[in-house]
Structure formats: C-alpha cells, structure tokens
Homo-oligomer: 293 residues x 2
C-alpha cells in the first residue's frame, strides 16, 4: 500500500540537427542522472530530433522509427546497464503512412514495458502536429516499473484534466509529461510570462486534483529561423501532490533535475483532502459530449 | 456569438450570529456593488449564517429554508429594484429531513431563474457537511441571465475538474464559486500558505482548461472557539480565461470586488489555445469509474 520513495531524473536539453548526436547526448545525460541517484529518468518530447513539427514536410517522416526499434534498443540496453527506468518520447512509425507521438516506458531490467501514444494532438502555427501524428488509440495507461507505478502523458495532453484524471485513477504515483513547448518570438514579450505561468499552473492543478506527483520535462534552445522559430522555454519541474514545486529548471539552460518523491506524501495529502472519495461518478457521463449547450 | 461585456460584483463579508442581520448586511453590500457598476453579484457560501457545519447539531437544521422562500423573496425584490443578477448560496430545506447546499440564481428582473444544488459534499474536521447536505441531484447547470450565460458551483466542487468542465461545456461565460474555506488555527502556520495557493491554483486551472472566467467568493472572519474555530481566508478573486488574476481581495477584510469581464477575451483565448477542439471524447468514458487499478 505504501510503496517506497523513488528518485526521478528530468533531462532538459537542447537538440541539434543530427538525431544520432541527440541520442548520444541523451544517453550521456541518462548516465549522469543515474550517477546522481535517479531511478526513473524522463527525456523531453521527441528528444531525438529538433522539433520538426514547425513545418509540414513529408520528407520528415524519415525521422520516425518503429517501437521496438533502434532507439528503444539502445535505451533498453542503457536502462539495464544503469538499473534505471527510462521514459522516452519517440516519433513512432507504426505502418506505412501511420505515425504516432509515442512514449516508450522501459523498465530497469531493460525490458520495454509498454507504450503510450499521445492522445491529444495540437495544431497551431509552428506546432503542426496533426500533419504528423495520428491520435493515440491506446487510451490512458499506467505501468508498474521497478521503482513504482507511473503514468506518462505527452505535451498537449497536459491541458486536459480528463487525461490526468484517467491516468491517476490507474494508481500511478507520478505523471510524466515529456514536452516541447516554447515561445514564438513575436509573442514572447506580450504573452510569454502568462503562457508559461498557465502551463505550470495547469499541471500543478493536476497534481492537486489527483493527489499525485507531476513531472514536466521540456526542451530548451531556439530552433528554426530567427523570426519564425521557437524558443523552447525549458522550466522543467516536479510538483508534489499538494501542488508545491519541488524543483524547477531555468528557461534557457540544459539541466538535469533529480528529485525524491515519497508516496507517503500522497497518503497524507489524499487523507486530508480526500477528493477521490467524493467524485460524482453518477453525474460525469456527459463529459463524453463535445458540447452541452 | 460574442455577448457583451459584463461586470461582476463579489461580496466577501464576515457573518455574525443573527441570520437576519447577515441578510441585511448582504443586501446593503449588493446595493453598494450595484452603485459601483456590478451587474452580476455573487454572495459567499451560506452567507445568511455563520458556517454552522463546524459541528453536527440537529437543531441547526432550523437555519434552513425553502427555495423559493424568505431569502429568495427578499433577494428577488432587490435584484429587480437594482437591475442586478444575484447568485445566492442558501441552506435549502427541500422536505422534512432532506436538505441541500443550494445556489439560487436570480435574474435582473427579479425572477428566480433556477437553482444549483452542490454536487460534491465535503466532510472533514470542522467541515461536517455530509451531516447536513444531501448531494445535489440536478447535475451541473448554466443559466441565461440578462447579462449573459453563467454557471455556479459551490466550494468543494472547486476541487473537481469534471464539475468545471461540465459547467463550461454548457456555454457559460463565467463560473461562480461561492465558498467557505478557512484555516484551522493549528494548521495555519505550517500549511496555510500552501492550502491557499492550492485552492487558487486549482480554480485558475479551471479557467485555463476551459477558457472561461472564474470567480471565487469566500467569507472572512474567525468563527467558533479560539482553538477549534476556523479563520476564513477571504482572498476572493476573479481569474480571466488565461488564468490571470484580474482582482483579488485580502485575507482578512470585508471587500467588494467589481470586475469587468469580456467574452471577447474568451474568443481570443479559445482561438489561440483551442483545447475544446481536441478533447478525446471517445476515450473519456472511464471517468465515470471510481478507480481503474
């Protein structure tokens, strides 16, 4: 009932042009996180490449790979060597013409435990994801790893309380959000602070509503042409089940956050603010409607 | 499609022992809010009395009244006189032995538009609401008032993203949360700041997730014995659809907040962060489960 404490490692990094170099860098950082005590390491969304969804270009489907495939093969090896769980966000080629934005969950013995396919797919200027990714068809999932039960959601999912709830109800101790979110240069001055604050607020609220740890792992660095690129805002963080920030990275540097999480804290929070007790499951049915007016 | 701007008035007050005096005070403050330009006035939870749920005492059912009843009669009169919409949280006697925590929505022409019965009922030390209130059986509702479509939820509802979503999907422009939340004297020093911040964060997140205005109206003042009473933390606020605080009251004084809300702002926010577009209504069905593990 009260699983042990676990230490998460969040890897916030810049990505260059060459996928192999990005994968090499990620592996180096996983090693560093493990040395510093991380047991569950989460990489940022689509860490193997720059954020290619800035434009719609059919050639970029070449970046995709199967799961299992080359990246999971390498990461499974690393996971086993280091005894760490790895959450790896990948561009999945499922079949010819069928691609997903997928998180692979690799256990500390090197086995591929399973995958989560991003359910909510955004599409707005410079984030043309609907061109690339078919919405996930596996639903919301949790996975039993060596260091406890975890769930992963991906980026745009973070704006949907339904997703956090459905993952939390599966008994996870922590929700991981590999992310690629940044500022448009033209918007940053006017909206940048509010955008970042809304992003963080929303995810802290998932922690509070569900009495669960939340970890968001975002990339940093500027990608693309000067006026039409994205400045990824980093600021990876871990929230405790009360919505308090336990650690938060900068907006502009590569960082590895190592944070200890204690399921006993969930026990405390959920006993004192017992939201799960009072959910009106008899009245939530209409949530499967598009609109109700 | 783009309704007009509207001005809300939030009345944060202390309550004394005598219900008639509290009602008189509330009416005076509604007059003041109307003078200052408020069009939709929201009173705090159970404004007609002290927060009696601090103990379980069957005699206290005497505080309840029917709806329509004396309080709505008086408030309908005031609403018509001042041309304001009033959201009034009342202790409803529905039948002998059947009580609810109910919000009455009174239109600016003095008609009782409808009621919302609090759906999520808390029960923890000094908040013994399950003794008094039968959980609501009317679901989540929105109401067309003279100044636009509004929804009301009540206090403990504010911790449930499902409630905010279901109210927002009914096309409301604003969610009102009449509230009675405070600090236990023994907990305030250690947890007080985090509790207040979690409360505000959660409701700002409802604004963000749904692209909607949110107004929380809380009481102030200390009620009950020195060591076993509650210090209601006030801090009533209005959040815009991006989660930004437009106004926020103090922790310890009676205040009336007058805030202009612009549905055009919802238009902007929902166009640029179109969360409603991408909801996975095909996958949310299990949210009607108690637990999924």
């Amino acid at each position: 009932m009260n699983p042990e404490k676990f230490r998460v490692g969040l890897i916030q990094m810049e990505c260059g042009d060459r996928p192999e170099a990005n994968l090499d860098k990620a592996v180096e950082k996983i090693r560093e996180a493990a040395r510093r005590g991380a047991q569950i390491v989460c990489l940022q969304e689509l860490f193997r490449s720059q954020y290619f969804c800035r434009k719609e270009d059919a050639k970029l489907f070449d970046l995709a790979e199967t799961i299992p495939g080359p990246s999971t093969g390498r990461l499974c090896h690393v996971a086993k060597e280091l005894n760490v769980v790895i959450v790896a966000s990948l561009f999945e080629k499922r079949a010819t013409g069928l691609y997903h934005n997928t998180a692979a969950i690799i256990d500390a013995d090197g086995t591929l435990l399973g995958i989560y396919r991003k359910m909510h797919i955004p599409d707005d200027p410079l984030y043309y994801e609907k061109f690339y990714f078919t919405p996930g068809d596996l639903g919301f999932r949790a996975f039993d790893t060596r260091y406890g039960r975890i769930a992963t959601l991906v980026c745009w999912d973070q704006w949907y309380p339904e997703a956090a709830r459905l993952a939390a109800l599966q008994g996870a101790n922590i929700l991981f959000y590999p992310t690629a979110i940044g500022w448009h240069p033209a918007e940053k001055e006017q909206y940048g602070a509010a955008q970042h604050d809304a992003w963080r607020t929303m995810q802290r609220a998932h922690a509070i509503a569900n009495g669960i740890y939340v970890a968001a792992v975002n990339r940093v660095g500027f990608e693309g042409p000067k006026d039409e690129g994205l400045e990824f805002w980093g600021a990876s963080f871990v929230s405790d089940p009360f919505g308090r920030l336990l650690a938060e990275a900068s907006h502009d540097k590569e960082e590895i956050l190592i944070v200890e999480c204690d399921p006993q804290q969930m026990e405390e929070v959920r006993r004192n603010w017992p939201f799960l007790r009072d959910r009106r499951i008899d009245a939530y049915g209409p949530i499967t409607s598009r609109f109700l007016a």
